[in-house]
């Protein structure tokens, strides 16, 4: 058996086919509404596309997971319930949920539907994971990006629940699903609307030689002439503390944990996840292929060869994030 299951993002049917063709074991997608945490314009799946996506993956022996990982709105649970019902009807291999009430609904309404706990639930310790396992029958938990490899090993061993961790792509420095930074600046939140630092609230302002990137009423970064002006994701901005400017929360960097494959395997991690449902199919194809090659190589040799992914990481730099203790 392969060491890891490779879980890949798809924001469009074309990206789904690209991910499957490039060697994804499983693909995760969302419906085209506020029920998923990548609710961006022009992205995601209609019910028909989702049904076709499941069929495409299954014909090739792969799996499809449906992310329904925002928090259902008060007095309007219908879109979230419908999403769960349709995922079950279309034969999705799992739904990825975060909300306690929605987990309760899915477990009671669809007892045979496999439940995965979304990273947006931020289950960061064995007590929390055990609750989701015992009460709702959750089979797998996607771990928040706040844990060290040691923490992950202990949690996996104690709970016996399959663990899935992010290895590549965008990196939240905050505990996911517990962050209102975006809504403080824009009124739009990951938990409620499924967006973070949304493009609708982004402006670039040329100020002489300096380019300002703004989110709502706040300047997130300033760029000198010739400096590439990055997207103003709030927690990747430059701010001033004690009269000194810095990337206070996180540099504009991406997660790449491929070097940690041996440690993650020893920790008992079952699945490795690539972030990026907002990415185009060319990026998906290249990233998935590179990771497929790295995982196959690791299974043959036990060594983690860092795949060639130049130009694909944000800011051209990689970090192993919270998996390594010094990140803290």
């Amino acid at each position: 058996m392969a060491s890891f299951e490779l879980i890949c993002p798809a924001g469009t049917p074309a990206a789904l086919r690209a991910a499957v063709d490039a060697g994804a074991d499983s693909v995760y997608c969302g419906f085209r509404d506020e029920t998923n945490a990548r609710n961006f314009p022009g992205l995601n799946f209609s019910p028909t596309e989702m049904a076709e996506g499941v069929a495409y993956a299954h014909r090739r022996g792969r799996s499809l997971f449906v992310a329904i990982n925002t928090y259902p709105a008060a007095s309007n649970p219908a879109p979230w319930h419908r999403a769960v019902d349709q995922a079950a009807e279309f034969g999705a291999d799992a739904v990825i949920l975060a909300d306690l009430g929605l987990l309760d609904y899915a477990a009671r309404r669809h007892p045979r539907l496999r439940l995965h706990l979304s990273v947006q639930a931020s289950a960061a310790n064995a007590d929390a994971v055990a609750l989701y396992r015992d009460v709702f029958g959750v089979r797998r938990v996607v771990l928040p990006r706040v844990l060290t490899v040691q923490d992950i090993a202990r949690l996996t061993a104690e709970t016996g629940v399959e663990t899935e961790v992010f290895v590549f792509g965008g990196l939240c420095p905050m505990a996911e699903g517990r962050c209102s930074l975006s809504s403080y600046a824009t009124g739009q939140s990951p938990n409620r609307q499924g967006v973070c630092s949304p493009a609708s609230h982004v402006r670039y302002e040329q100020r002489g030689d300096v380019m300002a990137s703004r989110l709502g009423d706040f300047t997130i970064n300033l760029f000198e002439e010739g400096e590439p002006a990055g997207y103003p994701t709030l927690c990747k901005g430059r701010f001033v503390t004690n009269d000194r400017s810095s990337y206070l929360f996180e540099e504009p960097t991406s997660l790449n944990a491929v070097a940690l494959l041996p440690e993650l395997k020893a920790a008992g991690v079952r699945a490795l996840k690539i972030e990026g449902r907002q990415r185009g199919k060319a990026y998906i194809a290249a990233t998935v292929a590179a990771y497929r090659q790295a995982l196959d190589g690791f299974d043959r040799t036990g060594r983690a060869e860092v795949p060639m992914l130049a130009g694909m990481t944000e800011g051209q730099r990689g970090t192993t994030g919270a998996y390594t203790r010094t990140w803290r």
Binding site: A74, L147, M174, S183, A212, W327
Partner: protein
């Protein structure tokens, strides 16, 4: 149901003496009904308050306050898990769960659900009620349009609903310490630099605009939430508890202002004006309540 003023836990790293003096004064002078204690942001600070905790519980209880012990927001290590278990052995107090791990340990026993457990809808509220939650403090980013149906549902479930109405709003929690990082340090060798800022470390934009506040691993709003002008509206919705989050300004005075507005002896606009005066340049905000950016200030007249 009775309307109650509650005092949230101290979020910042105050000295043990400042922490003790604060709760002693609250016990003697603050017109609040419920008082939360506990270090919920960083387990490294826990030893500082541990020595005064039993006496604080005793003194607050003797003063007629109902005491709630709040559990940490983010629990990842074995030591932190044990610390949560230790809270459960304290007798005669309600425990407030601030993560799902604490919820798991409190199943079947009466408890409070804190603002760091995501309660966005009636389904979650009903599930929590069925597990023994007696009260739920809603997440700070919820607008009136969500608070209203949740408060209505809570009433039928017999759960009290609480909303924060004063103080900097918690916005995020991390494994990384930004207070340490701002000084070029790591969390492991942090030198407790967070102790230098009793209301948190100011974070400005590159344009020099006040933006956020860092409190160790926690990030808060720069502005102070004030919903003094919305208390009537919240009460009409069925919200029965109003949380004040402690800061270094005179919290007894803040509690008296809110109490006076609830009692109808002080106009909300006057309370907001006095609060804005005490808070100074950081400013006040009420945007989340109105479905706007949380940093916005509209005021009750709008």
């Amino acid at each position: 149901m009775d309307t109650q003023l509650t005092l949230g836990p101290v979020l910042f790293n105050w000295t043990a003496d400042a922490w003790r003096d604060f709760y002693w004064r609250v016990a003697d002078e603050a017109p609040v009904d419920v008082v939360h204690v506990g270090e919920i942001v960083c387990s490294k600070r826990l030893p500082f308050i541990a020595e005064h905790l039993p006496e604080a519980l005793e003194r607050l209880t003797a003063a007629g306050k109902r005491v709630v012990v709040s559990s940490p927001i983010l629990v990842t290590t074995e030591r932190e898990r044990q610390a949560v278990r230790d809270l459960l052995t304290i007798g005669d107090v309600t425990i407030e769960a601030n993560d799902t791990g604490a919820l798991a340990l409190l199943a079947g026993r009466p408890h409070a659900v804190g603002p760091f457990v995501n309660v966005y809808n009636e389904g979650t509220l009903a599930w929590l009620a069925g597990r023994g939650a007696g009260s739920v403090t809603l997440p700070g980013e919820l607008p009136a349009d969500a608070i209203r149906p949740l408060a209505a549902a809570a009433r039928t479930l017999g759960v009290a609903v609480e909303v924060q109405v004063f103080g900097r709003l918690p916005l995020a929690i991390s494994a990384r310490c930004y207070h340490a990082r701002a000084q070029g340090l790591h969390k492991d060798g942090c030198r407790f630099v967070c102790g230098e800022d009793p209301d948190g470390l100011s974070v400005d934009t590159l344009d020099g605009e006040p933006f956020l506040t860092v409190n160790g691993t926690q990030t808060l709003s720069r502005r102070y939430l004030s919903l003094a002008g919305r208390l009537d509206e919240l009460r009409t919705m069925g919200v029965t508890r109003f949380r004040l989050s402690p800061h270094s300004l005179d919290m007894v005075e803040v509690a008296r202002l809110f109490r006076a507005v609830l009692d109808g002896t002080l106009a909300a606009a006057e309370a907001d004006a006095r609060l804005a005066d005490r808070i100074g340049p950081a400013g006040i905000a009420d945007g989340f309540f109105l479905g706007k950016p949380g940093a916005a200030w509209v005021g009750a007249a709008a």
